[in-house]
């Protein structure tokens, strides 16, 4: 019994880390642009595919070390996704900035469709699932009677390190301060001499890069990627962001783990739970939006824009 619970904890920490990385992106975009970037899930998917391409290239180049390849995957998918995210912002979201909610919403949905279909059409065999590269597939070690997977441990550590790095970036640096200022009040930030365009671009760099990392992590964990996997992750991601309070960066860091915990608990406790786990995630989404729209972590009377 005890072992199962440890196992569930490890599972939820792994996927929670992934959700958190995606959620941070959502919450950052919402903060600076008041936009729910539905295309973010597709950036996540692109991250996975970039990782796959890097792995293929690395094999061609004869790179042996699994760790190095994984490192390269992370770096390249961060770079590619950051650029894609910034391009999205420049060419799709900037023209509709300040428009009514509906317009921005439909724009982001449409951008998501474009990215997803582009991968499906132009990636070789894009419509089929692709086996992902993973050097440590079956490597695990025993801790007492608990079997732990190296990949999972690695992913948990990676996500914690990254989330902490984001925390430092947002809390301690000038760039982060500009981001927080813009989130709080775009006009006031502008009056204080912050170049809002650059801040928004930086935000998209950062958020999309994290999404890309999550895409690679997803591939390493499930060993298979598909062009349409982004959408599910987008829902989990913004549920996590909503749980933490949309626009609240620190909240999003915990939201991912909460969503993952709910999912794992539903699967563990409810018979046939795996069929209904997403239903519970969406119920969590609706419930939080209706009863605690500012997120679980913030005092309910504080109002968010």
């Amino acid at each position: 019994m005890f072992e199962t619970w440890i196992q569930q904890l490890v599972n939820s920490l792994t996927i929670g880390g992934m959700y958190t990385l995606v959620a941070v992106g959502f919450t950052l975009f919402f903060g600076v642009l008041r936009l729910i970037n539905f295309a973010h899930g597709e950036v996540f998917m692109l991250g996975g595919f970039t990782g796959l391409v890097v792995a293929w290239l690395a094999e061609d180049l004869g790179i042996e070390s699994g760790l190095l390849i994984i490192f390269l995957m992370f770096v390249f998918s961060m770079a590619v996704c950051a650029v894609i995210g910034a391009l999205m912002e420049r060419f799709a979201y900037r023209p509709v900035r300040g428009m009514p909610v509906l317009i921005m919403l439909v724009t982001s949905l449409a951008v998501g469709i474009v990215v997803r279909e582009a991968v499906k059409e132009f990636f070789p065999e894009g419509a089929n699932p692709h086996a992902f590269y993973s050097p440590f597939k079956y490597d695990s070690f025993n801790l007492g009677s608990v079997v732990l997977d190296y990949t999972q441990i690695g992913l948990i550590l990676t996500s914690i390190v990254l989330v902490y790095a984001v925390y430092l970036l947002v809390a301690k640096t000038w760039v982060g301060r500009a981001m927080r200022a813009t989130s709080e009040d775009l006009d006031a930030a502008r009056m204080m001499g912050i170049d809002v365009d650059i801040v928004i671009r930086n935000t998209f760099f950062l958020g999309s890069a994290l999404g890309g990392v999550a895409g690679v992590m997803n591939g390493l964990l499930y060993l298979s990627i598909r062009f349409d996997m982004g959408w599910v992750m987008a829902i989990k991601g913004f549920t996590a962001a909503v749980v933490g309070g949309l626009g609240n960066i620190y909240g999003a860091m915990f939201g991912g783990y909460i969503v993952a915990a709910v999912e794992v608990l539903v699967v563990a406790l409810i018979p046939e739970g795996s069929r209904y786990k997403d239903v519970f995630v969406f119920l969590l989404l609706i419930g939080v939006l209706v009863f605690r729209p500012s997120g679980l972590l913030r005092a309910p009377e504080q109002k968010v824009g």
Partner: protein, 428 residues
């Protein structure tokens, strides 16, 4: 110069035209309509995807050119307004004629029926979104509710379509009522997320509640509607001429669409519609003037959903097969896009949007999956260059212009920037 708005400012003027002038005007108007309709027929009869693309580009170019000529625009609108009843009759006659043109191509008639069904649903969403301003990204829920309710009644209990149809609508209205409760407490982004989550939950339930929906097997063998023992799939024969049975569905859908348009117009101009409009414009102000916002929002959700359900019921009985894949998020996005592209709040525009978004993808079948890519790209471009839709509701058009100007003012960093060409009311 502030833009003169004909729809808002026009008062019923006495018709001073002589009989000859009237006849001339109507002839010209009817001629234009017939010409446009002929162009439309040519467009949907095109088989080759390249030709269709060319045709679409031609239309886009025409529309852009048309937009550049405000004088011609208002002149045309003026003429249309003067002979409105006549224009409506001509349009109706043309729509009735439509299937007779394609007697040897029943697939096109089928497409016409499908377009009419989606027009019903888009008009439903138009009530929620266009009239009351409530963002609903889960409209497929109501589509599904109507389709499942009426089809299962027919399959299991052998209930006639004519009873299943209103029950399907009411079931959908109930689902609209269900989401209205949480939706009342949130607005804007949060409302969009709530309805989105609702749509996703419902789609998962369609897949998993197999005792109600047969899950991913779908509901099969849905009987076609019948009337006095005559089945809708039996072709009508007039003399030697056998009319394709798709025509029966086309006329069924057309009649319901016309009814929906009629109800929409009456709703818009009713007390209810005015109150919805007030809520859409400013909820707080509406409440101050004694509008029961809560009640009206619930009514808006349910009424919109009702038409979604009606559309779903007709759809189920026409296709004869209902599957959860019909009711995914993409369906909701499609219906949403119909309303937005057509022009939110504008009934005629929404119908045009629905017809366009049903027919164009079908005619571009040769491009296969590339269609979706094109759809997404086109949607982005429309959002950027024409967010008010093709035929905007006049008030909404001004709103969006104002938002754009305000953004520009904010971007330029100068609050004192004059907004040229706009009335004072839009400056904040």
């Amino acid at each position: 110069m502030p833009e003169v708005d004909f729809i808002d400012t026009q008062v019923a003027r006495e018709d001073t035209r002589t009989l000859a002038e009237k006849a001339r005007d109507r002839l010209a108007l009817g001629g234009c309509q017939v010409a446009l309709f002929a162009a439309f027929l040519v467009g949907i009869a095109l088989e080759d995807a390249i030709l269709v693309t060319g045709f679409l580009l031609f239309i886009v170019a025409g529309a852009v050119g048309w937009g550049r000529m405000p004088k011609l625009n208002s002149w045309a609108r003026n003429h249309l307004a003067r002979d409105k009843r006549f224009a409506q009759l001509v349009l109706l006659a043309l729509l009735v004629l439509f299937p007779f043109v394609f007697l040897d191509n029943p697939y096109l008639i089928h497409l016409g029926a499908l377009a009419a069904i989606f027009a019903i649903m888009a008009l439903g969403l138009n009530i929620t979104l266009g009239f009351c301003g409530l963002l609903d990204v889960g409209f497929a829920v109501y589509f599904a509710a109507g389709a499942y309710a009426s089809s299962q009644l027919a399959v299991i209990f052998d209930v006639s379509f004519w009873i299943g149809l209103p029950i399907g609508g009411l079931t959908a209205a109930f689902f609209g009522f269900l989401v209205a409760w949480p939706a009342l407490r949130v607005s804007d982004h949060y409302l969009a997320l709530v309805t989105l989550g609702y749509g996703l939950i419902m789609n998962l339930l369609h897949r998993n509640f197999t005792f109600l929906t047969h899950g991913t097997d779908g509901v099969i063998n849905i009987p076609p509607p019948s009337i006095f023992g005559w089945d809708f799939v039996t072709p009508i024969e007039i003399g030697d001429l056998e009319l394709p049975f798709q025509m029966n569905f086309y006329f069924l859908a057309l009649i319901i669409t016309v009814l929906t348009v009629f109800v929409s117009i009456r709703l818009r101009d009713s007390n209810l519609g005015r109150q919805w409009e007030a809520i859409r414009e400013d909820e707080v102000a509406a409440r101050c003037f004694g509008v029961n916002v809560r009640r009206l929002k619930i009514i808006a959700f349910s009424t919109g959903a009702f038409f979604g359900g009606i559309g779903g019921a007709v759809f189920a009985h026409m296709i004869g097969f209902v599957h959860p894949d019909n009711f995914v998020l993409l369906t909701s996005i499609m219906i949403l896009a119909m309303v937005i592209i057509g022009g939110m709040g504008n009934i005629a525009g929404v119908v045009v949007g629905a017809v366009a978004l049903t027919l164009i993808p079908e005619r571009l079948r040769e491009f296969e999956d590339l269609r979706m890519l094109l759809f997404g790209g086109a949607l982005v471009l429309i959002m950027i260059y024409r967010p008010q839709g093709l035929f905007p509701n006049s008030r909404r058009r001004r709103e969006l212009q104002a938002e754009k100007i305000n953004t520009l003012i904010a971007e330029s960093g100068r609050d004192d920037a004059e907004a040229p060409g706009l009335p004072d009311e839009v400056k904040v």
